[in-house]
Symmetry: D3
Subunit: 312 residues, 6 copies
C-alpha cells in the first residue's frame, strides 16, 4: 500500500523511508517525535507520542522502517499516529519503491543524451561537452535538478536535460537562426554545477559550497578549468558557453551575474523555464480535482492554478 | 536600387514611399522638411533645404515619390539631401516593393492557419475560433503584430500566429499534459485585438481606443460578445479562453490584468515571447558584424546583443 | 445578546449564524470542530471538543444555531467552548440580525441611486447606466463591495457607490472642469462586475470566473455588450466609460490593464480609495482605545493606525 | 498682445519678462543668446544671433524688456528671432501682466483662509495654526505651491490651500468620522515649509536649505519650535499635526519619513493630490484639442492624457 | 547560574527578570501564563500551567523573580516549566546581572566621548554638539541604540556612537577630504532622537511619538530648536548637521526624507551601517558552530551567515 | 599649458592626446571631425570644420598631436575650434603628461602592497594571494579600477586596492571579530578580473569577455584554477575567498550572483564602496565652488552633491 492511498481512519502496518525527524515535548512534558515518512508516491507526517528511548535510538534519516500506525485528519491534512516502528534488514527493500521516481529509466536517459552529444557538429563544442560529462561521470544521471519544486528525484537532472534538449531541437528546426550546437551544449551543461551544489542524489540538501557559491558560479569555474586543460581557453566557443552558463537564469535578481546577450542564451533561459514549469504542473495538476484551484505555489509567483472542468 | 544599398557620396534618383515628415526652420530662418522615406529594405531620413511651397504641397504620407538626392554621413547614419521630389501616378508602383515584407506569402499563411483550425477537436473551441476569425475577416492576414519591434509588417500578425502555432504544436507533442485545442485557440486569438488597437495594416499607429483600452481588453470584450451570441457564454471553454487572452502578457506590469492561472495560459506567454524575440533577433542580427555588439535594444531590457565570431 | 458583548467567563446560550467550520483531531486523537459564528455585531470562533457524529451532522454553513457555550480568553482573543448546538426552524429568525449590517436601508439606497441616475444629462450616458443597472437588477443592492476589508456586507456595493457618488458630486461642484455625467456614471458602473466576481450576496467568496477574469474585465465585457446592443458601440461615451472601468484601480500592479488617461478616470480612482478607506477606518477605529495603535492592517500597506487621545 | 497669441510669421515688438537665459556659440564661432521670455499667458524661447556686447549687458533675469522680433516654427514649437531688445523704466509695467496669474485675488484668499481658521473649534489647534500663520506673514499669500507642475504662480500656495480646504470641508461633512479641526489645520500647515524651500515668490528656484532638508522637514522643525514656545510641546494636538506634516506625501519614496498612521493624515494626502492634479489638468487640458492626447506628463507618471470628443 | 547555561532536563531555582508575559487558556480550559525571563546572558520562555490567581498577581514586567522550574526541549528551543515563582525584595539584586551588558563601562564611554567632543575645532559645531548633549544629559549613556538587532542594551547608544567615532577618526586620517568636525558631530548627534523614540533605557519599546514621528525627525526638530536658541539658526554648520541627521539612513525607503548630498553625510551612513552590523555579527556569530549557517537574519536582508571552519 | 587652464577666447597651440573621434557632415554638406583631446588635467572636445583628407589621415586614437586652436564657449562647456593638427615623433613626449595621473607612484604602490601581502599569517591564504598576483604580474599596477567614475587612470586598480587595504586594516584593529588575513586577501583579489574585463591599461574599454562574463565571474574562475593547481581546491580558505570575490558587489542587482554570507565578505563590500566613493568625491568636489551643487552624478544614484560654504 502506498502513502497516497491512506485514508482517515485506516489502521495498518507498512514499510516507509524516514525522510526527516524532529524531537518535541508536549505541554504535559512528555517527549514525542515528529517523523516525515516517504515512499515513491509521496510524503506524510507521523507522531510518536510518549516516545521511548529504545524507539528513538532506532530512528535514522534514510532508513526504511516497518511502521504500525493509524491515520487521522489534522488541519486539512492526514497525519499518522505511530504505535510502533521497527528497523529490519535494509537489503530486503527495493530503494526505488521509497523515493520519487522519474518517468524515464536511467539507461534510456544515458543512451539518449549520449546520442545527442554525438550529433554536435562543431568539434570544439563537442570536446567541451564530452570532457565536462566525463568529469562528473555517472553522477549526471543520479542527481536531481532541484531539491524541491521540479525534477526533485534521482535522475532529475538528466530528465530535465533530456526534456530541454528535445524542446531545443524543435526550436532549432522551427527557427534556423539558432545555432543548434551551442543551444544543445548549453542545455547539457547549464545545471551541471548542481552536482556540487547539492549534497547527494537522494534526500539532497544544499552543500556549504552550494550556498556560498551557487551552481552557476561553480559550473562556470569548472567549465573554464576543463576548457583551459583542453587548450580551448581563448576559443569563441568557450566564451559563449561560459556566458550561457552564467546567464541561464535570465535576470540578475534570479542569480545570474549577467543577462543573456547572445541569442542562444536567451532561448536557453526560455527552454529551461518551460521544461521546469511543465514538470511542476505534472506534479500538482494530478492531485487537483476538476474545477479546483491549487494552493499558492511559491515557486510559481504564489499563483493558484486552476484545473479546468470537462476540458482536459 | 534599394535604400539598404545606398552609400555615402551617392547621387541618384529613386522611387521611395513617404512614411512620415515634419517641417522645420533653420537658424537662418529658412524653412525645410525632414522626410522619412522607406522601401521594402528599410528606412532613411532626408532633408529638403529651402523648401518651396509647391514642393511641400506635393508631400503626403503614404505616397510613393520619385526623389532626386545625394547621400551624406550625418552622426553615424546616412542621410539624404533631397534636390527634387515628384509624385507620379501611383498605379505604376507595386506597393509590396515599398513596405517591409514578411517571410511568408499571405495565401500560404491563410491556408496554413485555416488548416490548423480544422484540427481543433473540441467543437466549442473550434466554433469560437471560427466565429472570431470570421468577425475580423481578411484583416487578420493584413495587420502587423506590433507597430515596431517585431512582426511590424503587412501580414505580421498572421506570421506571428503561424510561428507560435508551429511551436505550440511541438510543445504539445513533447508535453502531453497540455491541451492542444486550448493552446492552439489561445495562439490564434490572443493578439486579434490589435486589429482595433492599430489604425491600419500599413504605416500603422495606435488608435484612440487602442491607447485607452489596449488590445487585451478589446479582444476579451469582442470574444465574450461572440461567445454570447453563439450561446457559449457560460461554457468552461469560453472562460478559459477569456482568461488566456487576458493573461497572455504574463504579468500585471506588462498589461495583463490577471497572471496566468491555467497551465496552457502559462505556455501561451512563453511561446508568444519566444516567437516575438526570434523575430527581433532576425531583424537586427543580420546587420551586425561578427564580434560586434548591437546598440541597446529597448524592447529587450536595454541589452546589447553579441554576434559570435566564426561560430554561426 | 450580541457577540461583541461577550466577556471572558460568560456562560450562556445564544442564536448565532454558522459562517465557516473545519474538522480537527486533538493530540490525543479526539475529533473536534472549529466553528466561526457570526451575528450582525461581528464574528467569534468556537470549539466543540469530543464532537459527536449527530452534532456534526447538524452543522451547515449558513444555518442559524442555538448554541450553549462559555467564553474563554485564548491568545489575546475570546473563544467559545461550545457545550451544545441545536438547529431550530430557520423561519423564526430575522436574517438581518445575523449578518453585518450596512448603515443604510436598501430602500433608501435604491431610491437615492435611482434619483442620481435621473440627474445625468447626457442621454447616451444615461441610457448606458440604466441598461447596465437593469441587467443586474436587484443584485446591485444586495452584493457586498468586497469579501473582506471594506463594505463587506449585504448592500455593501450600493453603500459604496452611494458614498462615492456623494463625494463625486462635491468634487464636481468644487472643480467644474470635471464632467459630472461621466464621473457619476463611472462611480455607478465601476464595481458592478463584483456581482459575477463573488458567489453570493451573503457569505460571499470569489467565483471561478472572478478569480480567472477579475471584476474589472468582467464588467468591461458586459458593458461593451450592452453598449453594442444599444447601438452605442462606437460612441465616445462608450469608449470613455470602458476606459474608466478598466483604469479605476489606478495602477497596473493593482489589476488595472491601463492607467487612467482621462481626467475623470483619475478622479474616479481617488474617490474609490477615499470611500473604501473611510469604511475601513469606520470598522476598526471604533474598537481601538484612545492612545492605542491598531494591529497591522494588510489592506492598508501593513500600517498600524493610531487613535488620538482626547482629540476626537 | 500676449505670447499665447503669437503665430508663425508674425513680426512685431512687445514687452516680455526675461525668465532665464544662456549664452552659446554657433558652429561658425558667432556668439548668440537663448532667452526664455514670459508674460501672464505663458513662455516662449527667443534667440539673438550675433549678439553684441552692449545688448548682452542689458539682459538680466527678472527685467521686463521691449523686444523686436519675428516668430518662426522650430521643431514643432514657435521660436522668436530677436532683432533688438531694450530695457525701459520698469515702473511703467504692471508685474501681474508678466507672471502666471492664479484664478483668485490675494485679498479674497486672505479673507477666506482667515475666516476658515476662525472656525477651528479646538483652542490648541487654533493657537498653533494662528501662530504659524503669523510667523510666515504675508509670504503665505505670495509663494507658489510648486516651482513647476501645479500652482506655480504668485499666490499658488494660498490657492492650493484654499482649494484643499473646501474639499476637506466636504469630506468632513460626508464622513463625520474625520476631525474637521485636525484636517483643516493639516491643510493650512502642510506646505508652509515651501516658503523656505523656494528662493522667492516669483521666478522661484529651490534654495540650498530646500534641497538639503526639504519643505517637510523644514516645516516640522518650525512647527515644533512654535508649539514649544506656546507651551504645547507635549500636547496630543502638536504630535498629531507634526505627524500630518511629516506624512502628507503618503509614501517614503515620495519624501515622507513616515507613512500616514492617523485617519486624518491619510485623508490629507488624498486631498493634496486631488487638488494638485486638478490644477495640473486645468493647465494643460485647455491647450488640447478634442480627440487629442497630451504629451507625456512627467509629474503624472509619464501618462498621456486624452481630451474627449464632443463629451465635455 | 546564567540562562545560557541551562540544559534540557535541568531542575533548579534561579533569579530571573520578567521581560514580558501573556495569559492563555489550554484546550482543556485551564488558564496558564507564558513568561519571557531574562538575565545578562539572554532570554528564555517559561510556562506556568494551571496558574493560580495569587501567582498571577505577583507577576509584573521589570521585576526580578525567584523561579523554581525544570527545562524541556520544545520545537528546537529550550523552555521552562515553572513550578513556583516568588518576588523578594528587589534591593537584593544587582540590575546589571539581569540585563544585556555592553562591552564598555558607562564611565569609560562618558569620558571618551567627552574627550572626543573637546577635539572638535570648529567653535560653532562644538557649541552645537555640547548644547545637544547637555539637553539629553545622562540619558545619552543609558539608552540603547535599537530595541532589538544591534546595541540593544543599557548604554547601547553611547557604545554605538563610540564605535562609530573611532571608525570616523580612521576614515578622516586615511581620507583627508572629509571634514573631521562635521563627521564626528554627525556621529554623536545622528541617533540622539532615539531617547524620545523609545520609552525607557531598559526593556524599551517604541513610544507613541517614536512611531508617529521617528527618531530622525524628532532629532532634526530638537537640534534646530537648540541651534536657534544659540543664535545659529542660519549658520552653514547648522544646515549641514540638520542634513546629516535627516539623511543618515541613506535612502528614502529606509526612512530618511532626503538622500545624503554632502560627502560627510555619505560617510556617516556607511560608518553607521558598519558599526551596527559588526555589533549584530558579534551577537550571533558567538552562538554559531564552525561550518554552520545562522538562521535567516531579518535585519540583514534575510541572509543566513556562515561561520568558517578552522579559519577564524 | 594644461587643458584645465584653457579659457574662452584663448588662441594657441598645444600638444594633446587623441582620446576618441567621430566624423560628421554639417547641414551644408561639409565634412567635419569631432575629436576628444586629453592630457593629465582632463578632457576637451574639439571640432575641425571643412576637414581635409590629409588631416583626417593623420588622426589616430592614442597619438599625441600638436594642435593649433582657439577656445569657445558652447552650451555651458568650452570647445576647441581646431585650425591645424600635426603629428610629430611620439618619442618626444612623456606619456604620463597626457593621461590621468593617480596620486601614488607605481613603485610606492608595488612595495606597499607587496609588504602587506607579507603580513598575511595564514599560509594557504598567503599562497593563494601570491600565486594570483604572480599570474597577472605587472598588469596589476597598470590597469585602472574602472573605465570611468572612479580610479580611472593608469595604476587605478592598485591605488584602489591600497586605499581599501589601509581602511581594512583600521577596521580589523577597531573590530577584532574580523579575520585580517581573509579581509586583506579579499581586498587584493576582488577586482583582479578587471585586467581581463578591460582592453588595456590606457584608454581602456570593456572587452568582449568583460561584457559577456564580467570581472566577478572571470576572477572567480581564474582564482579557482590557480587554487586547484596549488592543491587547495577543497580548502575552506579557497571557498571563502571564492565567496568574497563573488559577493563583493553586495547585491544581486549590482551583479553579484550571491549576497555576502560571511562577515568579512560584508565588510569587503562596505570598504569597496567607501574607497570608490571617496575617489569620486575627490574628482568632482575640487571643481565645485563653495555653496554650489554638482550636476546629477549617475554613479551616485543621480544625486547632486553640495559643497559647503566656509566649512571645509
Amino acid at each position: 500500500m502506498k502513502i497516497k492511498e491512506y485514508t482517515s481512519g485506516l489502521k495498518t502496518s507498512n514499510a516507509m523511508l524516514i525522510a526527516r525527524y524532529t524531537r518535541g515535548v508536549t505541554q504535559n512534558g512528555a517527549p514525542y517525535l515528529s517523523i516525515t515518512f516517504q515512499d515513491s508516491s509521496g510524503e506524510i507526517e507521523g507522531k510518536i507520542w510518549d516516545v521511548k528511548a529504545e524507539q528513538e535510538a532506532r530512528i535514522q534519516v534514510g532508513l526504511i522502517a516497518e511502521v504500525k500506525f493509524d491515520v487521522n485528519q489534522y488541519k486539512q491534512a492526514l497525519q499518522l499516529r505511530v504505535h510502533d516502528l521497527e528497523i529490519k534488514d535494509q537489503k530486503n527493500y527495493v530503494l526505488e519503491e521509497f523515493v520519487n521516481a522519474g518517468q524515464f529509466d536511467i539507461n534510456f536517459l544515458r543512451s539518449e543524451i549520449t546520442a545527442m552529444i554525438e550529433t554536435i557538429a562543431d568539434p570544439i563544442i563537442k570536446d567541451l561537452v564530452v570532457a565536462n560529462m566525463d568529469a562528473v561521470g555517472e553522477q549526471f544521471y543520479q542527481y536531481p535538478a532541484a531539491t524541491r519544486n521540479h525534477h526533485d528525484f534521482v535522475g532529475g537532472l538528466a530528465t530535465h536535460v533530456y526534456g530541454m534538449a528535445k524542446l531545443a531541437e524543435s526550436v532549432c528546426e522551427l527557427y534556423p537562426i539558432y545555432n543548434r550546437d551551442l543551444l544543445l551544449a548549453g542545455v547539457i551543461l547549464h545545471d551541471m554545477g548542481k552536482i556540487e551544489e547539492y549534497t547527494a542524489p537522494l534526500l539532497s540538501e544544499y552543500s556549504v559550497a552550494g550556498r556560498l557559491l551557487g551552481h552557476i558560479s561553480i559550473m562556470q569555474a569548472n567549465f573554464t578549468m576543463i576548457a583551459t586543460q583542453l587548450g580551448y581557453a581563448d576559443k569563441e566557443q568557450t566564451l559563449l558557453l561560459r556566458h550561457m552558463i552564467l546567464s541561464h537564469h535570465g535576470q540578475l535578481d534570479y542569480g545570474s551575474p549577467v543577462m543573456p546577450m547572445v541569442k542562444e542564451a536567451e532561448m536557453l533561459n526560455f527552454i529551461d523555464n518551460m521544461d521546469a514549469r511543465t514538470n511542476m504542473f505534472d506534479k500538482f495538476y494530478g492531485d487537483l480535482g476538476e474545477g479546483e484551484f491549487s494552493s499558492r505555489m511559491f515557486a510559481l509567483d504564489n499563483r493558484n492554478f486552476y484545473k479546468a472542468k470537462g476540458v482536459k
